[in-house]
Structure formats: structure tokens, C-alpha cells
Symmetry: C2
Subunit: 360 residues, 2 copies
């Protein structure tokens, strides 16, 4: 068996120790005589696994007591509708900040459920920078302000959290949750698909301030009503049990390796190695404003795009996969989530140096 | 390692051979150097796994070419809203047949999206029988007629498919899909959570006739719009990749063991063993009308409910778990899905004989 260096934007690489434990426990979880997949979600075994996963989210992120942690289904694209269904009812209108493809999609979806105002947009820069807070036109009567904390496709990330006053801040944190410490109390609601830093696809984490519950529109499906899910410990419908189990294993691994402060240091080291190389290279380049560069997703371009396929083929031959950039941006993209080891970035940079020497 | 006999109503027991293969492939799927959990859903490896799972659903169920097979998220409780969101727009009203708890919940949810008529109800019988087709009051202008093919809680199941004329028949088939051959062409839409006969929780199978696409209400979330999902091969949002992989393994196992005709014979043998025992017992009883008894979920009662806890404790000591009945019905429930071996029912009946001899 030979494991590759997997730079996938998500679903993404997971800690090998987690996969080993999952394989060992597959037929018999801790003497229960069952796989976790086979457990009733109402049985004491799975209830314990579920409660532990919730507690790990709370502990690692420092979630205050007046927030609920929910596990739901549908991913961030599902949440793009589910968030406004649950929150828009507070005033019928919401502010969105557009920083790229994922915010753009959030905006289009929210417009089905209320009046959406784009408070600021990075479109003029080709989404290579976060619009400065001073330029945001915020509506104090908005039900919430929505941001995407890290744009997986464009590779821009908030490094300072903007002050939005008393309006609840909602963040799509799919691609940088658990990658660094944050102050949850500054948010009204955080949502994230698990498949970058927390586990497999199929489970979505929602962290919501309790006072924001209870405003769902009448057309909200019960399975996606945050208040109903909060009242039922995320078991209003059958939860994605195995995905929650793996998420718990990943978060235990995260805690054992120092928690989110250690993750941030590890992620900064990887990103710096790659950005430093890009900044001195005469062949490879990154187009994002330095202060807004993502620590998670690094898009880069070759000087000669005609050699993209050759570059990818050489990477594959060296055991590095999923480096092709998103079609909207082109070129390459290296995703550097928590579970990607430093050695993967070292191998990538060494290959890029080699490639540059051969083609520059 | 000792595996139990797991009578859980779902998530439920899975074939041991499937779990073994999943464990073996956990760190490296077929030389890819990745777990299936780590694969990009857009990569060639997962695209192949996904296409094979769709093909297996089509082959096993004989799905005609003018139907789409979709894999979505949210389970049957999610679909209770998603189905009317997608289909109700055809006329604004729908007929529902109420055969128990699951139909009751479907009805309540659908009423958010249009005018719902209960065409027939088994309520007068305490939901121990399917209302005969002759008693149904059908609206020829309904967008669809909804049934629940097997009520997991009450233990009633359709054994003859009612003729509903030209109105599309929609079936919640969560707890009996893949348990017997059916004629898909008689349905407009079939939906089912995977966690009974097909795999883990977290993936929902939708089989929909193509002419029913394109009528979604404006408030339908994109992630749950059947037409968008059909146009994008169920990848409009990131699919629950690992759950789809396991579903594929389970369906391959189903095919290797003779397909749905063989499953039906196997399931009939198990159910008959248990019902035959119940019918001659003076201590245990099943209250469902004989012609409507479920082959999948068998609720039964002890003569003395005060001994329920003792019965369950003895079962647990003999390696039989998840036999407690649903709180709405009380007593016990044995769920006999495809992956439950005949030996499990033999062991259960032997224990019930022993218990009866000791307490009758």
C-alpha cells in the first residue's frame, strides 16, 4: 500500500491514524458486535458517539453555552437555502458580502427567500481581494450579514473579522473551520460541510446562537428547521451516523495534536513554504492580494498554460494528486487542509523547482 | 470479535462481507493511494464508484430508461418536504393514503406546499390494516398520489400495488426497497433512505420518471431540486461519497446473492418462521391483519407487558439486540431486512419458545 499526497479541495485527505482506527473498528465497534454503520441512531452506543462529537466541536472551538451545535445534511449548498429559510423571517432582508464563486452562489440562493442586498463585492478585482470593511454598505435592519470566510476556488480568506455591529454575522466556514482558533461569540451562525478539515462529506456542522432560533419561514422543511433539530439533538431525522463517527475521530485526532492553535501553526508553515516559493518564482505565480491569501487553498498558474497537463502528469507520477485548478480560475490549486502533512508541500515545492528549471 | 444478531429498524445490519471489504479498502482503494472518503467527488475514481452504484440500482430494480436515479441527502423525512416542493406545482394539490405514523408525517409536511387530501386512512383500525383500494377517494386532478409501501413502526405493508389510474404514484419505500422485485414503471417517483436494505444512513435514493421533472416550486432549494440534480448526475452539491460507496458494495452483494427475487424468498422464509410462531403462541401476539403483514418489520407483544424488560435483557444476553418496539406501538419489534440471516430469526424464535415455556 502506498498513500498519495492528496491536494484535493474536498472531500480531502484525512489523518491516516483515523482511517486505521475506522478500519479496525469496522466489524465490531468497541465490543458492541456491530459496525457503527449498523447502529440504531437511538441506541446507547451511537448516542454516545454523537454526544462526544458535539462535545469535541464545543471544546475545540470554544463554543459558548448559548449556542447550539447541530449536525445536519445537505452541505453548504443546502445551507445556502436553509440559512435564509431559518433566519430571513426576522426582518425579510439580509446583507451579503461577495468575495467569489461561493458567495455568489449563496446570494443567488438566498434571493428565493427574501430581499438580498450585496453590501460589498470583490468582483472588480476579479475576486482576488476581500473588499475592505470601510467600503461595506450595511443595512442595520438586516436579519443577518453573510460572509464566506474562505473562498475555496479563488483562494481568498478573511484574516481579520469585520465588525458588523449588532446584526448577526453568518459565516460559510466550510473550507477553513477547525483550521485556526476563532471567537465564536462574534458570530450569529456558522455552517460548514465536514469534508475539508473535519471528516467525510455528508454531514454539515451548524453552530447557532440560541436567540436566532424560532424564526423559520412556514415553508421550511422540518428536517432543516434548526429549532426542531435543536430540540431533538439533531435527531429529528435519522442523522448520517457513520459520517458523524468519523468526524468525531478526526476531531479527537485534532485535539491530540494540539487543537486549533497547533493546526494554525501547522497550516501557516505549509502555506508560507508554498507562497514564499511562488513569490520568488519567475515561472509560477499566485494572483491573490497578499493580505487576503488563503492558508487553505492556493491557486497558482504556470507561465505557459500549454504545459498544465504535463505539470499534472509529472505530479501524478511523483504521488501528488488533485492539483488541477478549478475551471473558473484555471491553472493549479493546492489545498492544504489540516490533515495534509508538511512533507506534501515540501514535495510539491521540490517538484515545482525542478519543473521551473526544466522549462523556464 | 463476536457479531450480534441486530434487529434494528434502521440504521440496520449490513452484510459482513461488505464490512470486511470496506475495512480492507479503507486506507487505499484499489491502488489509488486514498480512502474513498478522501476522494474528490469530481475525480475519476469516485465518478466510477458513483456510476456503478447508479447502474446497480437500475439493474436490480429494472428501472426503465425514462426514469432518473438520483442520490440525495436528507432521508425520507427530508423527502417528505422535497417531494411536494418538486411535484406539487403540477396542480397544487395531492392525494395521500394514511397507513400509519410515516404516512401521517408525510401528510403534515406536504400540507406546507399545497392542498393535501387524505384519500383513505387506516386510522379506524389503529393502523393495523391497509385501507382497501375500493375505499379510496381519489382526485383525478391531483399532482400525485402518495403511499408508504411499508410502515416500519406499525408493521403493515402493501402486497398488491393499487391502481391509481393516470395520476403518478409516489411511494416512500424506505423500509422495503430492494427487499422484493417491483414494477418501477407503475410508479411516478420512489424515494428511500438507504439505511434499511441498501447501506448506511446519509444517502437517499430517488427514482423519478423524467416527465415529472421541471415543476419545482420557486422556493425549492437548489440542492433539493430534482431537475438540477438530474442534470448534474446528483453532483449539484457534494454527494455523501462514502455512503454511496457502501451502498454500491451492498447492492453488488445483493446481486451476487441472486438479486431481488432471491431477497424476497429469503425475506419470506424469515417472516413466515416468525409469524407462524406468533400465530400458534398463547403468550406472544401480532395485531396486524394477516394480508397486510410486513415482511420487514414484525411488531409483537408479550401477554404480560410487565415482563418486556426481562425479555429484552434475556435477548441481549443471547446476542440479540434492538428488539424493543417503537413507543407508539409498545412491545417488541423484529426488523428482518435483507442482511439479517435466517439464523437470527431461528435464534429469536427459540428464545421466545423458551421464554413462553417459563412464563406462560
Amino acid at each position: 500500500m502506498s498513500r498519495v499526497f492528496n491536494f484535493s479541495p474536498g472531500p480531502a485527505t484525512l489523518p491516516e491514524a483515523v482511517l486505521r482506527q475506522a478500519a479496525e473498528e469496522m466489524l465490531d465497534w468497541q465490543g458492541s458486535g456491530m459496525s457503527v454503520m449498523e447502529m440504531s441512531h437511538r441506541g446507547k452506543e451511537f448516542m454516545g458517539i454523537h454526544a462526544e462529537a458535539v462535545a469535541l466541536v464545543r471544546e475545540l472551538m470554544g463554543v459558548p453555552d448559548h449556542y447550539k451545535v447541530l449536525f445536519v445534511q445537505g452541505g453548504a449548498i443546502g445551507e445556502n437555502a436553509i440559512v435564509p429559510m431559518n433566519l430571513m423571517g426576522r426582518s425579510g432582508r439580509a446583507d451579503y458580502v461577495n468575495t467569489g464563486e461561493w458567495s455568489t452562489r449563496s446570494i443567488a440562493e438566498a434571493a428565493k427567500y427574501g430581499r438580498v442586498q450585496v453590501a460589498a463585492s470583490g468582483e472588480a478585482s476579479g475576486f482576488t481581494a476581500i473588499p475592505p470593511r470601510a467600503s461595506w454598505q450595511l443595512d442595520p435592519g438586516a436579519a443577518y450579514v453573510h460572509i464566506c470566510s474562505n473562498e475555496t476556488i479563488g483562494g481568498v480568506q478573511y484574516h481579520q473579522l469585520p465588525d458588523v455591529g449588532d446584526v448577526p454575522l453568518v459565516a460559510d466556514m466550510s473550507s477553513d473551520i477547525m483550521s485556526r482558533p476563532i471567537d465564536v461569540s462574534r458570530y450569529g451562525l456558522i455552517y460548514a460541510g465536514a469534508q475539508k478539515n473535519m471528516g467525510p462529506s455528508g454531514v454539515t456542522v451548524v453552530i447557532v446562537r440560541e436567540d436566532l432560533l424560532g424564526h423559520a419561514l412556514a415553508i421550511t422543511p422540518s428536517a432543516f428547521n434548526y429549532q426542531l433539530q435543536a430540540e431533538n439533538d439533531s435527531m429529528y431525522n435519522t442523522p448520517p451516523t457513520y459520517a458523524i463517527y468519523i468526524l468525531g475521530l478526526v476531531l479527537k485526532h485534532t485535539r491530540a495534536h494540539g487543537g486549533l492553535a497547533a493546526m494554525e501553526a501547522h497550516n501557516r508553515a505549509k502555506a508560507q513554504l508554498l507562497y514564499d516559493f511562488l513569490d520568488q518564482s519567475r515561472y509560477f505565480s499566485n494572483r491573490v492580494a497578499r493580505e487576503d491569501r488563503s492558508l487553505m487553498n492556493v491557486p497558482f498558474h504556470l507561465k505557459d498554460a500549454a504545459l498544465d497537463a504535463e505539470f499534472l502528469k509529472g505530479a501524478q507520477a511523483r504521488g501528488m494528486v488533485q492539483l488541477k485548478g478549478h475551471r473558473l480560475v484555471g491553472g493549479m490549486r493546492a489545498s492544504l487542509y489540516n490533515a495534509l502533512p508538511l512533507e506534501a508541500v515540501q514535495a510539491l515545492v521540490a517538484y515545482m523547482q525542478e519543473f521551473e528549471a526544466a522549462h523556464a
